[in-house]
């Protein structure tokens, strides 16, 4: 497993897709590939009120990634901290990882003719920065860090709500 967690407080998300844009800007991607995406479910009327669910979908950085197992050239790799990434110099564009991943995470870059995927912006992490999507997020609904650094949103929110009534 990755040592890192990227957690989303879906209640705060407004599906503005700034995360998707900045991810592509940071990776210099053309039209087409989306290493992360906000999936929208709804809106639907539930109990008379319109409700929707906005789910942020980056890579899960699986413990035993099928993409790595499928990659014939060793381009798909895992760092010591658990981040799964593509070594561009080794990728031959066979797309085996794309068909192996059950979540559709690896994406096709039509310009480079190689695969690109969410690597938690390891270029930024190594400089002590947060992933691009987390930094930019309009509503600050994304949290990133090691296990003990990611907050328990539900508990925090309950505490806040309780403080309001005191």
């Amino acid at each position: 497993m990755s040592q890192y967690y990227l957690m989303q407080d879906a209640k705060r998300c407004i599906a503005c897709r700034a995360c998707e844009v900045v991810c592509k800007v940071n990776k210099g991607l053309p039209r087409g590939p989306k290493p992360c995406e906000v999936v929208v479910v709804g809106p639907k009327f539930i109990g008379g009120l319109p409700r929707a669910f906005f789910k942020f979908m980056p890579c899960f950085h699986c413990e035993k990634p099928w993409c790595i197992a499928a990659c014939p050239t060793g381009a798909m790799q895992k760092r010591e901290d658990g981040i799964v990434y593509v070594d561009e110099t080794l990728c031959v564009g066979c797309k085996a990882c794309m068909s192996a991943c059950p979540w559709g995470v690896p994406q096709w870059d039509p310009e480079k003719r190689k695969v690109v995927k969410c690597d938690y912006c390891m270029d930024r992490l190594d400089k002590g920065l947060l992933p691009a999507c987390v930094t930019i997020c309009v509503t600050k609904c994304l949290y990133f860090g090691k296990a003990n650094e990611v907050p328990s949103i539900r508990r925090e929110r309950a505490a806040k709500a309780a403080a309001y009534f005191e």
């Binding site: 407004i14 599906a15 503005c16 897709r17 700034a18 800007v25 809106p43 319109p50 997020c137 403080a163």
Partner: protein
């Protein structure tokens, strides 16, 4: 070489403070200014896509002069000298023959508006207008009629609110980063959100109360709320007695407008209106009835916006924590505001009538600082009040934002000369005679932004990189034109830094003060006026005028009887327009990243109605009104009121050089009738009825 530049975004008009990282002359990273509360790194998708605009090869890359017929797309690239000489000669010629007033300048309000206003005054023309009336003219007039202040002088304390009511103010999609964060924070701490809109939006999905109201009947809803609030004495008695002028008149007027009456008009159950009024009154004065951002919808707009503001006053939420407040300027904090070029001594006064007749009997109340742009086609076509011969547009797109595009196009054919100062190939640039390219915000320093509020501050947009193409900042273009026209001395600068330094004289701040955090503050304490005796209202009575001297003096009633909104006849629908989070009005549709996310607009139509018309999801439909017709894809949904159809604003571009947005989706301006709220000044953008039918191909 790396450097950090603090600046202001300009992907939309909000001007969020940003931090730009530059490496070897290239923008490497942009994020929200970390020192500004509510920003702290955040940036919306438009801001995030700014580098794509900067590096876009489809931008206007140098001055262009038209060589073929208008709109043919035949252009010649020329030097700045040549282009400016042509413009100056032509303007001089027209001013000599027809007078300066025959020249019009239209722009989207920006930091350099004072520069452009100065230019027009020196040309001898009263005809400077901004996009404001198209956006919210009636909100402006309503605010002045009640408080004596314009709407930008009134702030909203999202952070501390306990209940906010939004009327189609789709705050989470037509978004500004800071208010969104403050509001979400308030909601997490227990605040309630009530949303009223005939269409379900992202904002509706976050609301505690949602009302799918009959389109055009929000005023009836508000009258019923007032009825309950007054009848059950739910209002802030002390505040109303102290500050409100004309409460008795409202009380008498509101009698017939019961919740039961409103139920028939709005389709919202009376019981829900009553319980909302009660619920709101429990949280007063930390209650906000949002007076709207884009408040241009119907011919009676002014009375609707006034009703919203009156509800705030009834709840005592004026100058209250968690309510509305008056924005404090530098003088309140003992400082001086930045100078404007319009404040120079010796500038000629222009007293002639405006092209839109603002300030005359026809339009006595709209704000002359902004004008009424939708009158431009009529003024040109009818030569009323006088012939208009030339127009200059600075980042303003009349063809897609003034209702009835056909009419506007016919009018512009009559013009001798059209100049566009813009960064991209807009439709008006495409129809111009000369196009002068402006640098994008990352390539230029701009005039000071005076940010008034509870803590008055100044922000500065700083140049981060050198211009990618042969472009200039608009104030430099204007100065060079002024030099050629012989009044350059009123533009005392060579570079933008000179202009900013000139503006800062006497304020006690220097250009370097902005380097550290991107802004300077006049004070670090919030300034609130005393609610007992300290409200400095600017109305003649020094009170909040429910009975408005502004309106009554102009011959309009403060409380005209409510006129019922007719249900559209069968097969016809009320056309509503609005925004999404990924685009700014008409200016971002060609951005590679934003275009990828939302490439075109679709027509939202209620499922039941669509079934009746034989339309299924994704079909092409023809939408027609008395003005024109368009074709776009249908989105069949339960999320919109059966009487309404909806489309996003800003699509259907016709400028071929902008290939990504060319002919994608459809323009609402083609369909909208050019009708106005005469009292307030807004066009009635949501008042047009359209017919919808299935089309077989586009």
């Amino acid at each position: 070489m790396t450097k950090t530049v603090f600046s202001l975004c300009f992907m939309c008009t909000v001007r969020c403070p940003i931090k730009v990282e530059v490496e070897n002359g290239q923008v490497k990273w942009i994020e929200g200014n970390p020192y500004v509360p509510g920003m702290q790194g955040s940036l919306c998708p438009k801001g995030a896509a700014a580098t794509a605009l900067l590096n876009d090869t489809e931008r206007i890359q140098g001055p262009m002069v038209r060589t073929g017929p208008r709109g043919s797309g035949e252009w010649k690239r020329v030097s700045w000298d040549e282009a400016l000489n042509i413009v100056a000669t032509k303007l001089q010629e027209i001013a000599k023959t027809y007078g300066g007033k025959s020249i019009v300048w239209g722009e989207r309000t920006n930091l350099a508006t004072h520069v452009n206003k100065t230019f027009m005054r020196l040309l001898g023309s009263p005809n400077h207008f901004t996009h404001d009336a198209l956006c919210k003219g009636s909100v402006n007039t309503a605010c002045r009629s009640l408080f004596g202040y314009t709407d930008p002088e009134i702030g909203i304390d999202y952070k501390n609110t306990k209940h906010i009511v939004l009327y189609g103010r789709n705050i989470f999609e037509a978004l500004e980063v800071r208010p969104v964060n403050f509001l979400l924070q308030a909601i997490e701490e227990g605040a309630k959100l009530t949303y009223i809109d005939p269409r379900v939006t992202v904002t509706a999905t976050k609301a505690h109360n949602y009302f799918m109201i009959r389109p055009g009947t929000d005023l009836a809803f508000n009258y019923a709320l007032m009825h309950v609030i007054i009848k059950e004495k739910l209002y802030d008695v002390k505040f109303v007695e102290r500050w409100v002028e004309g409460f008795r008149e409202l009380e008498a007027f509101i009698q017939p407008y019961t919740p039961e009456w409103a139920e028939k008009e709005t389709g919202i159950p009376a019981a829900r209106i009553i319980s909302l009024a009660r619920e709101l009154s429990q949280q007063k004065p930390s209650v906000i009835f949002h007076f709207g951002y884009r408040g241009a919808s119907h011919p009676n707009e002014i009375y609707f916006r006034r009703s919203i503001l009156m509800l705030n006053a009834l709840m005592g939420s004026i100058e209250a924590k968690g309510g509305l407040f008056f924005k404090k300027g530098p003088k309140e904090a003992g400082g001086q505001p930045a100078r404007k070029l319009t404040e120079q001594d010796g500038l000629p006064k222009v007293t002639e009538m405006r092209f839109d007749k603002v300030g005359t009997e026809m339009f006595p109340l709209p704000d002359p600082n902004h004008g009424v742009p939708q009158m431009l086609p009529f003024a040109i076509l009818n030569e009323d009040p006088y012939p208009i011969k030339a127009a200059i547009f600075n980042r303003f797109e009349p063809l897609l934002s003034i209702p009835d595009r056909g009419l506007t196009e016919r009018a512009f054919e009559k013009l001798d000369f059209i100049v566009t100062i813009d960064i991209q190939w807009s439709d008006i640039a495409w129809h111009s005679d000369v196009v002068l390219p402006e640098s994008v915000f990352l390539e230029r320093t701009d005039c000071i932004q005076q940010a008034n509020g509870l803590k008055p501050q100044m922000f500065l947009r700083r140049q981060a990189v050198l211009p990618r193409y042969d472009t200039l900042p608009a104030p430099i273009i204007v100065k060079r034109l002024a030099d050629r026209l012989g009044f350059g001395r009123f533009f005392p600068y060579e570079t933008m830094e000179d202009l900013v330094k000139w503006q800062l004289e006497g304020t006690g701040f220097t250009l370097e003060d902005f380097d550290r955090k991107g802004f300077v503050a006049y004070t670090d304490k919030e300034i609130w006026w005393d609610r007992e005796n300290g409200l400095k209202l600017k109305t003649p009575s020094k009170k909040i005028e429910f009975v408005s001297s502004l309106l009554e003096k102009a011959g309009y009633p403060s409380f005209p009887p409510y006129e019922s909104v007719m249900a559209p006849p069968e097969g016809r629908y009320r056309l509503m327009v609005g925004r999404c989070a990924q685009h700014t009005h008409v200016s971002t549709q060609n951005n590679p990243y934003l275009n990828e996310l939302v490439p075109e607009n679709v027509l939202w139509i209620n499922r039941r109605e669509a079934e009746r018309l034989g339309i299924s999801n994704g079909d092409f439909v023809e939408v027609s009104s008395s003005c024109g017709d368009v074709c776009l894809k249908a989105y069949v949904t339960d999320l919109i009121h059966p009487e309404a159809v909806f489309m996003l604003h800003g699509f259907g571009h016709k400028a071929r050089f902008a290939t990504r947005s060319f002919d994608k989706g459809a323009a609402d301006a083609v369909l909208q009738e050019n009708k106005s709220d005469i009292v307030g000044g807004s066009p009635a953008l949501d008042d047009t009825l359209v017919r919808v039918r299935r089309a077989y191909k586009k």
